[in-house]
């Protein structure tokens, strides 16, 4: 008697395992939180550069304006918007709103959509402001 091959969920990531928006967003919340914890130190570094004088500030602005710096800033700004919106979702749950299976999915899609939209708006203003200088 041959045994049928069965998928071993959830360790069988890929074609066997269907991701849910709930777990993916929860995971993203943590990842963006870690990114922002590093970003906090960059914000501090910016303040130190401003406090230290024009040369230090020019150096910081040079790094921030480089291609590499722009990628880092884009990543941090997306993380900030996503973590902020999903954090508001968490606060709503804490107040007792939207903590149903349907609410979790509806809120999840709203946060994902708004995060994409607001990040695009922020990048537009950020990059055009840099280009105008």
């Amino acid at each position: 008697m041959s045994q049928r091959e069965r998928p071993l969920s959830p360790f069988m990531l890929g074609q066997y395992y269907r991701f849910q928006i709930t777990s993916v967003m929860s995971f993203l919340h943590r990842v963006t939180g870690i990114v922002l914890s590093v970003g906090a130190f960059l914000l501090t570094l910016w303040l130190v550069a401003v406090a230290s004088g024009p040369e230090a500030y020019a150096m910081f602005a040079g790094y921030a304006g480089s291609a590499c710096g722009k990628i880092v800033l884009a990543g941090i700004s997306f993380s900030l918007i996503y973590h902020l919106l999903n954090g508001l979702r968490h606060l709503a749950w804490d107040l007792g709103y939207g903590f149903t299976l349907k609410g979790l999915y509806t809120g999840g899609y709203i946060v994902a959509g708004l995060a994409a939209l607001l990040t695009a708006v922020l990048w537009y203003f950020g990059f055009t402001a840099g280009g105008a200088a």
């Binding site: 914890s37 501090t44 130190v48 401003v50 500030y57 700004s77 900030l80 508001l88 804490d94 922020l122």
Partner: protein, 131 residues
């Protein structure tokens, strides 16, 4: 696990034997309070940062030296490092299973966040008072 076969005492009994940490819901509440402060100030900070992208050094410094901006910026950073520490603490608790590494990581995160907050405090002080 060998520990459970040697020790017949229920793990819950051992956990209870450690006693209450006397912190209760403090972590949860502080995380939410700092989150609300950050959530309120983030739109303002993003507007400030974007508006300062094309500005020259003197303008940036004068803007940050304004008492209103300095106080809000400092509030944001203190709440940010506080919130950051609380969040990373939970991530370490969940994913670092080696007790020693976990303790070292917690101490480093606490020191790092405290240092970040203090350095920000001093930097803003220099901008405001030496400007």
């Amino acid at each position: 696990m060998s520990a459970t076969t040697k020790n017949l005492r229920d793990p819950l009994k051992r956990a209870r034997g450690l006693g209450s940490a006397k912190h209760g819901t403090q972590h949860f509440i502080l995380q939410r309070i700092s989150a609300v402060i950050i959530a309120i100030l983030t739109p303002w900070l993003l507007w400030l940062l974007v508006s300062l992208i094309p500005a020259d050094y003197a303008t940036v410094r004068a803007t940050l030296a304004h008492p209103c901006n300095a106080v809000l910026l400092l509030s944001f950073l203190l709440a940010l490092f506080w919130h950051s520490r609380l969040g990373v603490q939970v991530v370490i608790e969940d994913y670092v299973h080696h007790h020693g590494f976990g303790v070292i990581a917690q101490i480093l995160v606490l020191f790092g966040c405290a240092l970040g907050a203090l350095v920000s405090f001093v930097a803003i002080g220099r901008i405001v008072f030496a400007g």
